[in-house]
């Protein structure tokens, strides 16, 4: 069997088109630049006396239009490849791009359904709905959800197991057919093999699952810790604030990389430090929920008791499993090396969240509705959790998105230094680090995880940007 081409049967038609699109785009860019330097300006809209609009198109406008259509053409070609992959059945015709597009079919369906529903009902969906008014936000959300669905459907997308080794396939280039495939096995390594003969494509896809398993959860924990401590620090002020702020600044003054090198080592795991840290840090979510329900329902004893009991039971069940690996039901556990990574990431992130929350509380607590609550005789925790927090959600959600991206980068850094992750783990940081060794000869194992990580973080940042823009419009 032959090597797959990147573009398959559609290549001869679409490749020249794509090239042309790129060329036009570059020409447009240069033209635009030169014309602007030469003092030309884009045409302005004029309102005529008969209430019609005229646009005086200048050469700059034409250059910009050319660029716009070039981008659209390029995107259309990409779409064509994916659709080509879906409708053609022979991998040779699909090409690598088409075949990958076909593997991602569940993701495309999920994305289309999600976007169709969201756009239809966007007026009823609050801030989330408004996201679909901003192009940047939509692109970001699309990228994030792409990887999210990839993580969810990873099991059906992958073509091989992430740690399956086929020794003849080591370092083979993208699109290499298997030498003697088993019945029913996929016939190609779509993105080639790594230095152990594992499928780069499948590892990249499974890597999404590894990353998205830890990053959002760790960020969420960091937010719980930051909010639980930041609210009282900002609201009460005084000594409590001074002490907490000092501690937060202390952690922030620690260079992240030094902290990781000190914390994420087998010796520290031996000494039990991660368990102690987890014991402290994982307590905050429980406190958060207990206080949350307690303050809300303290006038309704039955409801209050029920909610608190539920959060205590679920909380301590998770707590014993995650922090001490002692889940009485034996369902939840976290291996030591993942725990230390998780705890370190939470530890690094929570002081920043604390500072943000504290700052917002300092601002909001002077508002009238807070004073009104105080006059009504509401307890301080009720005011913090049910008056202040909901009003602080905008900036917090934006920061949450940014912070997941930052956490992803941190996890990659850990993987890059080989700290804490298990050696065969397909997570992107470790695969980049492994691929980097042979980078100058075989770039194909390192580039897919690198680009994947970049696109996920980019998506999160764009999403945050879109959310910020839309929430500012309120």
């Amino acid at each position: 069997m032959d090597l797959l081409t990147w573009t398959g049967a559609l290549g001869p038609i679409l490749n020249p088109l794509m090239l042309a699109a790129v060329a036009v785009f570059l020409l447009g860019l240069i033209g635009n630049f030169v014309l602007t330097l030469a003092g030309q300006q884009a045409g302005e809209v004029q309102i005529n006396a008969d209430h019609t609009l005229t646009i005086n198109r200048t050469p700059v406008d034409y250059a910009l239009m050319a660029m716009k259509y070039a981008v659209l053409l390029f995107l259309a070609c990409c779409l064509a490849y994916i659709i080509g992959g879906l409708v053609q059945s022979d991998p040779m015709d699909q090409g690598i791009l088409g075949a990958m597009g076909r593997r991602f079919l569940p993701v495309w369906i999920a994305l289309i359904v999600l976007f169709a529903l969201s756009i239809t009902f966007k007026r009823k969906l609050g801030l989330y709905g408004k996201l679909f008014d901003s192009l940047i936000g939509m692109i970001g959300f699309g990228l994030v959800m792409f990887w999210m669905f990839t993580a969810i459907f990873a099991g059906t997308i992958i073509t091989f197991g992430p740690i399956d080794v086929i020794s003849q396939m080591r370092n083979e280039v993208p699109g290499t057919p298997l030498p003697n495939p088993d019945d029913g096995a996929y016939l190609y390594y779509l993105l080639g093999g790594d230095n152990l003969g594992r499928d780069v494509f499948s590892r990249m896809v499974m890597g999404a699952r590894e990353v998205l398993k830890i990053a959002p959860a760790a960020t969420l924990f960091a937010f719980m810790v930051g909010i639980t401590l930041g609210l009282p620090a900002g609201y009460f002020g005084g000594k409590l604030d001074t002490v907490l702020t000092f501690i937060a600044n202390l952690v922030l003054a620690f260079p992240v990389i030094l902290l990781f090198y000190l914390l994420v080592t087998p010796e520290i795991v031996d000494a039990g430090i991660p368990t102690y840290m987890a014991a402290v840090l994982f307590l905050f979510p429980i406190i958060f929920f207990v206080v949350l329900f307690n303050s809300r329902y303290h006038t309704q004893p039955t409801k209050r008791l029920a909610y608190i009991a539920i959060s205590l039971v679920i909380g301590f069940w998770l707590y014993s499993g995650l922090a001490f690996n002692a889940d009485p039901l034996g369902l939840i556990s976290m291996p030591g090396n993942i725990l230390i990574v998780f705890v370190s990431v939470v530890f690094v992130n929570s002081p920043t969240v604390f500072r943000i929350v504290r700052g917002i509380v300092l601002d909001i607590k002077t508002r009238d509705y807070v004073a009104a609550g105080q006059t009504r005789g509401e307890g301080p925790w009720y005011i913090m959790l049910w008056e202040i927090l909901p009003n602080a959600r905008g900036p917090l959600i934006v920061d949450f998105c940014l912070r997941i991206g930052y956490t992803t980068i941190l996890l990659g850094t850990l993987g890059f230094f080989g700290l804490g992750v298990s050696p065969e783990s397909p997570d992107w940081g470790s695969t980049i680090n492994e691929g980097r060794r042979l980078l100058t000869i075989y770039p194909h194992p390192a580039l897919p995880p690198a680009l994947a990580l970049m696109s996920l973080v980019l998506g999160l940042n764009l999403l945050a940007d879109g959310l910020r823009e839309e929430s500012l419009k309120d």
Binding site: F254, G429, P443
Partner: protein
């Protein structure tokens, strides 16, 4: 103002004390000491031998006392061996027991001894810091002007096409950590088998095998454009986006201010508004951000120095941490913490000085 600086200074000392104690505590946990004993003595020591080795080499006392010794507020340990030979913290080949000082810690300017390098920490760390200083200087020299230009151009007309494209560029740059951009740069520009170098070499446009060098080791002796571009670009790229976004936000805010509107209405040209009125006020916020970038860059420095084999401070930190070279690691953290705190102080003071709206009585 004096009191403000004094108080900041006090907090800074307290922070430094706490942080070094944490580092001291973590590096002196028993499993780490055991590892140290086994690397320094013999990989196959029994538990009893480890304990006696630790005791013999001054790791036996209570943690807090040893921390005091390291600081130089508790007398350094001494110990008389079975053969009457006196060993001690302050005693080495150059200073025999009789002449040795009682205290030898940080306060006396003694940073201790690096077990892996077999040398005084102070001999090691100075040169490494200078190397990193050079790297940082060039990274800042590239990053700050580029970021400010992008930020100002983008913030000039908020929502314009220029703003959109530049903002996307800066978002993309913050989404590209050093270990991704470094890898891509090396493939594209510094590999003799991939990227553009083989092509350039074939065309006879470059003399060497690659356009840029993928290893910055030669830059330790002699910085050239070819051996330093990639490390500097890799560091600068990641930090640039963040500063650019801050500048843009600040610029955009200034551009909506009353006095700018007034100037516009008075018919001042756009170019003059930007250059003469808006720019100075727009740069206050980025200044603090730039100062706070120093500690943030440290991670980048560590990654880049590892990736490009540049034996500077970041590289030393990795070596010290992975070999549990306690006193070298402590010295590294002192430097790191010092940099963080000093830049915070400068950014605070600078903010006060630059911002006409804040006056401290």
């Amino acid at each position: 103002m004096g009191l403000f600086i004094l108080r900041r200074f006090g907090v800074m000392i307290l922070t430094a004390l706490c942080l070094t104690f944490v580092v001291f505590f973590l590096t002196n946990l028993y499993p780490n000491l055991e590892k140290l004993a086994k690397t320094q003595g013999n990989a196959r020591m029994t538990d009893a031998e480890v304990a006696s080795w630790l005791d013999r080499n001054g790791y036996g006392g209570p943690l807090i006392v040893r921390y005091g010794e390291w600081l130089g507020v508790v007398p350094g340990w001494t110990r008389e061996g079975a053969d009457g030979e006196v060993t001690g913290r302050c005693i080495d080949a150059a200073t025999p027991a009789e002449e040795a000082p009682t205290f030898c810690g940080l306060l006396q300017g003694d940073l201790g001894y690096s077990t892996v390098s077999d040398d005084e920490v102070s001999n090691i760390i100075g040169g490494r810091l200078a190397l990193t200083g050079v790297l940082m200087f060039w990274a800042f020299a590239v990053m700050v002007p580029a970021a400010l230009i992008i930020g100002v151009l983008a913030g000039m007309k908020e929502g314009s096409r220029l703003d959109r494209s530049l903002s996307t560029v800066s978002i993309a740059s913050t989404a590209t950590p050093e270990y991704v951009s470094g890898v891509i740069f090396i493939v594209l520009l510094a590999s003799s088998t991939a990227g553009i170098s083989p092509w350039l070499s074939e065309m006879g446009w470059i003399e060497g095998r690659t356009l840029f060098l993928g290893s910055a080791r030669s830059a330790m002796d002699d910085v050239t454009f070819w051996n330093f571009t990639l490390p500097v670009m890799t560091i600068a790229l990641y930090g640039m986006g963040y500063i650019a976004r801050m500048t843009r936000a600040s610029m955009a805010e200034v551009m909506t201010a009353q006095y700018i509107r007034t100037a516009r209405l008075k018919g001042v040209s756009f170019r003059n508004i930007v250059l003469k009125h808006a720019l100075r006020n727009a740069l206050i916020a980025p200044f603090t951000v730039i100062m706070l970038q120093f500690p943030w860059l440290l991670t980048g420095v560590v990654i880049v120095e590892t990736l490009f084999n540049y034996n500077g401070f970041g590289w030393t930190l990795v070596q010290a941490a992975s070999n549990n070279d306690i006193e070298l690691l402590l010295a590294c953290s002192i430097v790191a913490v010092f940099v963080v705190l000093v830049t915070q102080l400068i950014s605070d003071i600078g903010y006060v000085f630059l911002n006409p709206r804040i006056r401290i009585s």
